[in-house]
Each structure stands twice: as C-alpha cells, then as structure tokens.
Amino acid sequence: MEYAFVGSTCVIRGVAELKALGQRVDMADDLAKSVILGNAALIPSFQFDALGFTADELKHYNTPERRMGAPDPFMAKYRKALITLHDNREALKAGRDLPKLAVVKPLEVK
C-alpha cells in the first residue's frame, strides 16, 4: 500500500528517506505497521489525499521550519493529518488494522 509522510524526517533503512510533507512511499502492510508503531509519521496516502492539501501548500510548507507561521487554513489540514496519524496508531496498538480504501463495486444492471 502507498503511504504519505506527515513528519519532519524519517529514515526507513533500505526503503526510504522521508523529508517532505506528502512524500510517498510504497511498503508492505507489516512493515508499515511496525514503523508507524515505532513513531514514523506515515498515513495511508488515500487518507492524506482526502485532507485536500494543494500543490502550492505542499511546495511551500513541506518542512517543519517552513510550517512555522504557515497560514491557518493549511495548519488546520496539517493538524487533521496529525490526528489521523494518532488515530491510526491507536488502532494498531489496539490490534486493529490500518484503514483501507473502500472499493465500491458498481451494481450490475441486469
């Protein structure tokens, strides 16, 4: 599954070096669970996309230093990203899985 980064920096040795908000990484579910429980700031990319960051926001506020003093609308989205991360981690701690993108099959018309 694909994940998006919402932290400052994170090194997943042999897999990725994450430095920018929204940076994508594809990894197996087991590895994702392990590193999210181990404090990596990753959320499934479909959850990240749903937050509605604009390309401009991801360009201008992609590091913690650049986020200092960022406008409120951006910070509100970023705060939602962190709450999503927190909720996902709590779910993993409770033995549940990370949310998956629901695939809705169209009804067959007979």
Binding site: V6, G7, S8, T9, C10, V11, I12, R13, G14, V15, L31, S34, V35, I36, L37, G38, N39, A40, A41, P64, E65, R67, M68, R79, L82, I83, L85, H86, D87, R89
Partner: protein, 337 residues
Amino acid sequence: MAFANSRNERLYLQLESAFGTINNSSGTATVANGDACRHISASFQFDPQLLDRPDKTGSLGKTAGLAGRGIGQWSISQSVAGSGTAGTAPDCDPILQCAFGKAASVSAGTSVTYALDDNAYSFTGWSFRTSSNVAQRAAAGCIVQEMRFDLGQGIAQWTARGIFKGLVDSIVFASLTTEEKCGLTAFPSEPGSPTTSGNAAKGYIGSFTADGNVMATIQSASIILRNDDDLVYSLGYELPTDIERGLRVAGVEFELKEDDSTAVDNLVTKSRTKAAIDMSMVIGATAGNIWTFSLNDVQLNGLTYNDSSRRWQLGFGGSSANASSITAKDELTLVIT
C-alpha cells in the same frame, strides 16, 4: 576475519511487558524496525561475580571458583531528538517512560507529556552490529537510575545510565540457561529496515526561566533525574527478579554570566534563603522537537563564583526540585511539543 566498526551499530529499545523478560511470541523476539533509535554511544557491561570457595585446602594455592550472580551496568547517550511530529513520542520513549515511571500522555497532534510516577518499568536494549557474526546483544531488565539533559552545546544531548538483569548474547546463546535467555528460544536476526525519526535539537536554541525571569545569559544548564532504584534477587535465581524503587530526586545545575540585574540578585538571594522557586528549561524551537522541562519548588544550592573566563560566572550546582505536597509527583514534567 572481519572487524566490527564502532559506527556500524544500531540500537533498539523495547519497553518490557514483564521485568527482565525480553518481549517475545512463543520464545521468538518481537524486536521490530520501529524500535530502532539513533545513538551516540551505548554500553552494556555484564560480568558475573567469581565465587571463590573459602574453605582451606591444606595448601597455599588458590583453586578455581564458580560463576556467581551478576548485575549489568548500562549507559546510553543520544542527541536530544523529538520525533519531529507533534503528538508523536520520540524514538527514546522507552527510556523516558522508565526514567519517569509512567507512560507518556499523548495529545493528538499537539504534545507528548512525561510526568513522574512510582511505577517500576524496565526496557530491553538491543545492540546489533556489523558484521552479524560478531556478538549481537540484548540487555534485559534495564532500569534507569539517572537521566541527564544538557542545554548549551552545539547539539543538545542526553545521557542515561542504570543497571540491568542479564545480557543475552548471540555468541553464547546456546550455552545459556533458560533463566539467562530471558524468555527467548533463539537469538533473533536484526530487523531488516530499522526506522528512526526526527532531527537533533540545537542545544543553544531554547530558553531558561527561573522564578519567572528569563535568564538570557545562561551558559549551560542540565536537568537531572535520579532514581535510587535497585534490582533484587529471589532465592533460587541466578539473576535479579524484581525492581525496588527508592528515593526519586529531580534537579538542575546551571551556570550564567553574572550581572547586576534584579533577576540575578534574586537567584543569589534565594540560594541563601532556600526559598523554593519554579524553573523551566526549553530545548529546541521546531514543532515536534521542542522539549520543555518544568521543575517545581527548586531550592537553589551550591552557589559558586567563577572567574576563569573574561566575565564572572555564577554556578548553581545540584539544586533539587520538590513535590508540591506529599502526595504530588510534580517535581519534574517534560512536555514535547
């Protein structure tokens, strides 16, 4: 033959579910990628006592003794590095939990708070090195006897030390007793993708507040948390079986440039009267990596006048914080935002 380079070491920390038992699933260690954390140095020394038989032999020579009980000593130092994500604990979280005696309280997207409590927690420290053929080690049942955070230098650092129950080692694993294996049935390979988060904080970026006054001429400061804890044995065991908790002392040491301000005069006066004051120290300025230490009712101690540099400096050494009541545990609080 391959040598082991000192830098080719990865440290993993796991809070233990039960004292001295390495977290496992049916004997298989559960150490995982996310347990890794960057470190400056990690030392795990374990040398069981040598028990000499005291009986006379009829001659003056010494005969071989027996391996006895042992307690290991550990120390770890790291850069002060939050996760870089507000509301996510730092990689060194297991050591902080053990030092404070309580799990962190997390406010989603905002902060992680470590407050003091009387719980007895332990962690396992794993040292994996390259090549994998040299001894890989796991120190089980580590307790924190002292943790110290330093403000003032280039990269802020913390050091912690303590004692531990037993050292499980990949080289001698097969010859260890069940007790010495600390719950494992095999020594694990290192996880394939150790994962670490966050940047180091600059030690000179932050602030120091004493009795409501910001002390901008601070040169160095250290927050110290000492736990007079020990490990105890039970009859029939070679290794310690439990943690005994003792007196907890949180304190501060600091040095500042002397001037004639009322804020400095106030500290000199309070060091004489021993009137308690509140203090706080902040390290870092970037979200997810701002460490705020709050000390309650500090009684200043050990005032020294130092003329070894161009300007006079005042030193306050070993000043302890105090709980606000006999039931409170508010001597020291750490909030990472």
